[in-house]
């Protein structure tokens, strides 16, 4: 019977065909034992959400230095706790990648997309019983603004020029420059709403669960908020999050049933985990991507021919297969993922081509090229291996890539943006504008390739204020092409977020903006009966 369960699990996961399933079952002499309901008619019957149970999450990305302050939220444990269980933002990203109102009830812009009128949902109460009004919202956004703010979200709210309270449930926000994506900015996980005067560290928010206990880096326990303003969220009675940073410990905890859900699975052993009958994998092709950054203000990378040569010397498919074991998607040298709204699917896919690399090298007036590539696993897990593979594929194109392994500790302050050619990762952004303005605009602090392209920067401003969808798509399409063909960043791979859960857990198509259904598995998922 164990064997049959395994077969059934393989079939449900789509790893074997129905024909293959029957063949193997017959060989094993078990065909008669297959339940008649196992092969559903048409699509798998959707099982609706159900209340109850305690969800236990084994969470990687916890630290004893964690705090509940929305201005910090460094890693998964706090992001899923504060944004996923305890709190809400004005807007949220649904599983179609659209910004929809959450604590706001409606949002509308002026014709030039520079003034936004936000109406708040009425009757929302904080966990301490206080009713949420415009004052709380203004306070919550102002935490991240101002000169003395130490918030990581400071650059996100920078475009906000003023926030005016119209009445208790309405606010008007003026932006310094027009931005059609402003509703998307309000979905940011730092911008959760706290009561006026609070910094969030007492755990009082508006969310689906109330904080019962919290031990930084170790464990948090939340219980369902009976006064939550949404009926269709928060299905569990309690949610226990256990910080488990060791990937093997996390996997074992799931295997032995000590937790129901883990994040960030190990790719090397994933096929064994996938084969276990009572475990399901949750895969999300999100915005996260891994990059090789060249500083375009430094020779030889200041020559676009050199950059193009290097771009053609990366074997993307090999990286996907070898470093990411197939759980990744090849990139096209721009940071916009297939999950984004204006992804340019019509751009031809860049592939490994030693001849083209040589051609561009010649165009740059070189026979051979020798570069130092700085990398460390701090950039992303597998970045050192990726560097080695890059060296091999580049060697065949006449480029000598010297892989310099840097210490993990302090990588972001000492290597990234300092060394002319290094590995990096981006969590990605939900909108094209946020991604480009953060890392490709000429005056952006994180423009790690120091790329300055006039046409690109003009388009960036135009597209930001453009409310016409068709024009916008064309503009962002052109920008993706510019980054791809003239930019200073190689984007070989988009990552796949992989979580693993017990089969008892049910969920809809997950939102891909962040790991674990946009950090919100605890709110959106449920236990099947």
């Amino acid at each position: 019977m164990q064997k049959l369960n395994e077969l059934e699990s393989l079939y449900t996961k789509g790893r074997i065909s129905r024909r293959e399933f029957m063949r193997r079952a017959v060989i094993a002499g078990m065909a008669m034992a297959v339940a008649p309901t196992f092969f559903p008619k048409g699509a798998r019957a959707a099982e609706g959400p159900k209340r109850g149970g305690r969800l236990r999450v084994g969470m990687g990305g916890a630290s004893t230095t964690d705090t509940l302050s929305p201005a910090v939220l460094t890693d998964m444990m706090m992001q899923t706790l504060v944004y996923g269980q305890l709190g809400n933002s004005l807007m949220e990203i649904d599983n179609a990648g659209q910004a929809v109102p959450e604590l706001a009830s409606s949002i509308e812009s002026s014709a030039d997309a520079s003034t936004w009128l936000i109406r708040l949902r009425k009757g929302v109460t904080f966990h301490n019983g206080k009713t949420m009004t415009a004052d709380d919202v203004i306070h919550s956004i102002n935490i991240h603004r101002g000169k003395s703010s130490t918030s990581a979200a400071k650059p996100i709210v920078k475009p906000i020029q003023s926030i005016v309270k119209e009445d208790a449930y309405t606010l008007r926000i003026e932006l310094a420059t027009p931005n059609a994506d402003f509703p998307y900015i309000l979905t940011d996980y730092h911008l959760v709403i706290v009561p006026e005067g609070s910094d969030g560290t007492d755990g009082v928010f508006t969310g689906a669960y109330r904080l019962k206990s919290f031990e930084p880096g170790v464990r948090s326990l939340t219980v369902r908020n009976p006064d939550y303003f949404r009926e269709d969220r928060g299905w569990f009675d309690e949610v226990e999050t256990i910080g488990i940073n060791d990937i093997n410990a996390r996997t074992n905890a799931l295997k032995t049933g000590q937790v129901d859900l883990i994040n960030r699975c190990e790719l090397k052993t994933l096929r064994f985990l996938e084969r276990m009958p009572n475990i399901q994998l949750v895969k999300q092709n999100g915005y996260r991507h891994y990059t090789f950054v060249m500083r375009t203000d430094t020779a030889p990378y200041s020559d676009n021919n050199v950059r193009m040569a290097l771009k053609h010397a990366v074997d993307r498919q090999q990286l996907v297969d070898a470093v990411f074991r197939g759980y990744a998607v090849v990139g096209n040298d721009h940071p916009i993922s297939t999950g984004n709204r204006y992804h340019a699917g019509d751009l031809p896919q860049r592939v490994y081509d030693a001849d083209k690399a040589k051609y561009y090298l010649k165009k740059a007036g070189m026979d051979r090229l020798k570069v130092d590539f700085h990398t460390a696993d701090a950039a992303f897990l597998g970045a050192v291996d990726a560097g080695i593979l890059f060296r091999e594929s580049a060697a065949r194109a006449g480029i000598d890539v010297n892989v310099v392994r840097e210490p993990n500790d302090g990588y972001w302050s000492n290597v990234w943006t300092k060394k002319p050619f290094c590995a990096c990762f981006w969590g990605g952004r939900v909108t094209e504008d946020m991604m480009f303005s953060t890392a490709y605009a000429e005056n952006a602090a994180w423009n790690d390739s120091k790329w300055k392209h006039r046409r690109f920067n003009e388009l960036l401003v135009t597209a930001r204020g453009e409310l016409d969808e068709v024009k916008r798509k064309a503009q962002y399409g052109e920008m993706q092409r510019l980054v791809r063909d003239e930019g200073g960043v190689i984007v070989p791979v988009f990552g796949t977020d992989i979580a693993a859960a017990s089969q008892k857990i049910g969920f809809d198509t997950p939102a891909v903006n962040w790991e674990l259904d946009g950090f919100r598995a605890a709110q959106r998922w449920w236990f099947k009966s």
Binding site: S151, A152, G217, D246, T256, W412
Partner: protein
């Protein structure tokens, strides 16, 4: 009264304790300086570590100003030292919580795991060591030597994974993660920490057992044991009443070293079993450059070492009649 005083001063044990405590304080001062210099020498500071890739220059500057990280290093060190002298450990820079609160529970957990392991490992090591000495060069002796040395030769995490695979994944006897909570009953707690406890026992057993064996064998070769043997005293009585008391000093020292290791050196085991001890706090604090927490944990570890070594010396002296009754 004066006689009592002079007895105290003249008594070598008290004299030694006094001296060692004074030296210990000096050691702590030096250690705090070394830790400070060490963490300062690491690249980056708390602001950059916490903000990570998101570190904008102006945010970092605001962060530093708020936490007074922009003051010169020596000023910060002496401010900290002054506060510690008054018994004030200060607040964590990263979370703003009082350090005593952060460390208290975790230190208790560390002591709980170390204590439980010691209660299992020390008697076991002594008994096995005596058995090995008694049946020297027999198959029992060899088996014990080979198996304990094998256990100590593997890295801790490897032993831990083997135990998890066998006792947790294969046969669901014990939980694979030992996430204990504040309100757990003692029996549940003990069940939860079984696997880390066994792992650590395997790691420390060989050292103590081998030392017991060697020390006893050493004594067994002395003339007075031969005398006892000739008198016809039973083997066990010779070992227990005559050999062991004379072999105690080195054994006590090794036990103290291993106890200290159980308190300060088990971070790998903590990570593998997700045990909320002090080691994990120290590692996290170093990676975030949370200096006051690193200092406080470092001092606790140093106190543990100094204290246990002192205890070992005192006990070793007390086990020696010549030192116990000075002229």
């Amino acid at each position: 009264m004066t006689r009592v005083m002079t007895w105290f001063i003249k008594n070598p044990i008290f004299k030694m304790v006094g001296q060692r405590l004074a030296i210990g304080l000096g050691t702590l001062l030096v250690i705090s300086g070394l830790i400070f210099v060490g963490v300062e020498a690491l690249p980056g500071d708390l602001a950059e570590a916490v903000l990570g890739q998101n570190a904008l220059p102006e945010t970092v500057a605001a962060f530093r100003a708020e936490l007074k990280l922009d003051l010169p290093a020596h000023t910060r060190y002496f401010t900290w030292l002054g506060e510690v002298m008054q018994g004030e450990l200060g607040n964590s820079l990263a979370s703003g919580k009082p350090i005593s609160e952060l460390i208290g529970w975790r230190f208790k957990n560390t002591l709980f795991l170390a204590g439980t392991t010691a209660l299992v490992a020390i008697p076991l090591a002594l008994i096995l060591g005596m058995l090995a000495a008694l049946y020297r060069d027999t198959w029992l002796d060899r088996c014990l030597s080979i198996s304990t040395l094998a256990a100590i030769s593997f890295p801790e995490f490897f032993v831990a994974y083997i135990l998890i695979t066998l006792l947790s994944v294969k046969f669901a006897l014990f939980p694979s993660i030992s996430s204990i909570t504040r309100d757990m009953p003692l029996m549940v707690k003990l069940h939860t920490i079984t696997l880390p406890c066994v792992t650590l026992t395997l790691v420390v057993l060989a050292h103590m057992m081998r030392m017991t064996r060697a020390a006893i064998i050493n004594v067994l070769d002395l003339p007075f044991i031969e005398m006892a043997r000739l008198k016809g005293i039973s083997k066990w009585r010779i070992i227990f009443n005559h050999a062991l008391p004379n072999a105690l000093a080195p054994i006590i020292n090794v036990i103290a070293l291993n106890l200290a290791y159980l308190v300060v050196g088990v971070v790998v085991v903590e990570v593998v079993f997700v045990y909320p001890g002090l080691g994990q706090l120290l590692v996290d604090s170093v990676s975030k450059r949370d200096l006051p927490v690193v200092q406080a944990s470092g001092l606790i570890f140093a106190v543990t070492y100094v204290g246990l070594n002192l205890t070992a010396d005192v006990l070793a002296m007390m086990s020696n009649p010549r030192l116990r009754h000075p002229q």
